[in-house]
Symmetry: C2
Subunit: 207 residues, 2 copies
């Protein structure tokens, strides 16, 4: 094989199920020998395509009630911090722009996980520059420099480009794994995505 | 322990993900020593509560496109027959009434699986009495007698009662497993439901 198979992890910092997935995906890929690529995007424009002005968890209370209970169970199952956020969904353009700017850095996973814990384990306002700056500093990174780069004219279009690419890929929610253009939605589908990356596809759906 | 833990499987014959789940649930419960109770219900009235006139897979093409591809993958993964149905979602009142009438019979699982394969593996019109009668006959059962009982004045209200109970349980889709009133939605959540039935709950969410 020429190189390791690659898995793109498409995530939105406001998404509850993306939290569960984001905390697990790097280890799953490492253990499987699959290369991980971080792909932040915004769900807002994709929800708008589906005619929604906010998360369907807010639009459909039956679905929303279940999700909040499911979060209690899933965070307990995986040993993750949990505190129901006082605002949902949060705007996430600031951390998403930073994640775009540092997506290829070896510490991107640390940043992503730290932002998710801030949102869903600590109920912090993750769209505030101060909050993101303090997380970058905790990680030993030059916060001002990185925020300036993330919001520069050269870098800013990347988040919109990611969101447009997500739209083209057929993405309708988060989290998602994409392997060779094949879309796997939901945190429960991550293991199937890794199996796909490793070529363990059932014969009847091999091209 | 006084008796085996019990898992209620709440399903709708029109539901694609219920197909995957229904084909697997009896063996999962048997292997775990969990008692299985079949709970047929209708999704139509529950979708109506959410303001939908049909399946959200039809209302939201992005979500629907993904589901159909996911079905190809999941049926391949579990070695199940697959043929995209020419009508979706099908009306299912006839098989659902029969399933209500025979829910306590030891062959209920065989009937449920046979109806699902007819819908999603063979594209048969499962709401026609002839189709259901032929399935009952295949299973060595007195088809006319069972259909008459399923549609009798005494038996008919059971399906509506199930659907009302599903509504009270917070159900918003299918399939579902319910253990001690705790709801687990989706075919991926079945293993978690079984763990719950066995009392393997994470300490932090034990009452």
């Amino acid at each position: 094989m020429a190189s390791n198979p690659t898995l793109e992890f498409w995530f939105e910092f406001a998404s509850t199920y993306s939290y569960i997935a984001a905390m697990r995906i790097e280890k799953l890929c490492r253990d499987a020998g699959v290369r991980l690529v971080w792909r932040p995007f915004l769900l807002g424009p994709i929800f708008a395509l589906q005619g929604w002005e906010t998360s369907h968890f807010n639009l459909n209370p039956r679905r929303g009630n279940y999700m909040w209970r499911d979060m209690e169970r899933l965070t307990a199952k995986f040993g993750l911090p949990w505190q129901k956020p006082s605002e949902f969904p949060r705007n996430t353009i600031v951390p998403a722009r930073v994640a775009c700017a540092i997506a290829d850095e070896p510490w991107c996973g640390d940043f992503v996980r730290r932002v998710y814990v801030a949102n869903f384990g600590e109920d912090r306002a993750i769209n505030e520059r101060d909050v993101i700056a303090s997380i970058l500093e905790e990680l030993g990174q030059p916060a001002d420099e990185i925020l300036a780069r993330a919001e520069s004219a050269e870098q800013r279009p990347q988040l919109r480009a990611n969101t447009e690419r997500a739209t083209e890929l057929g993405i309708f929610g988060a989290p998602n794994c994409v392997v060779d253009g094949e879309l796997f939605w939901g945190e429960e589908a991550m293991e199937d995505a890794i199996a796909w990356a490793l070529g363990r596809r059932h014969a009847s759906i091999l091209q």
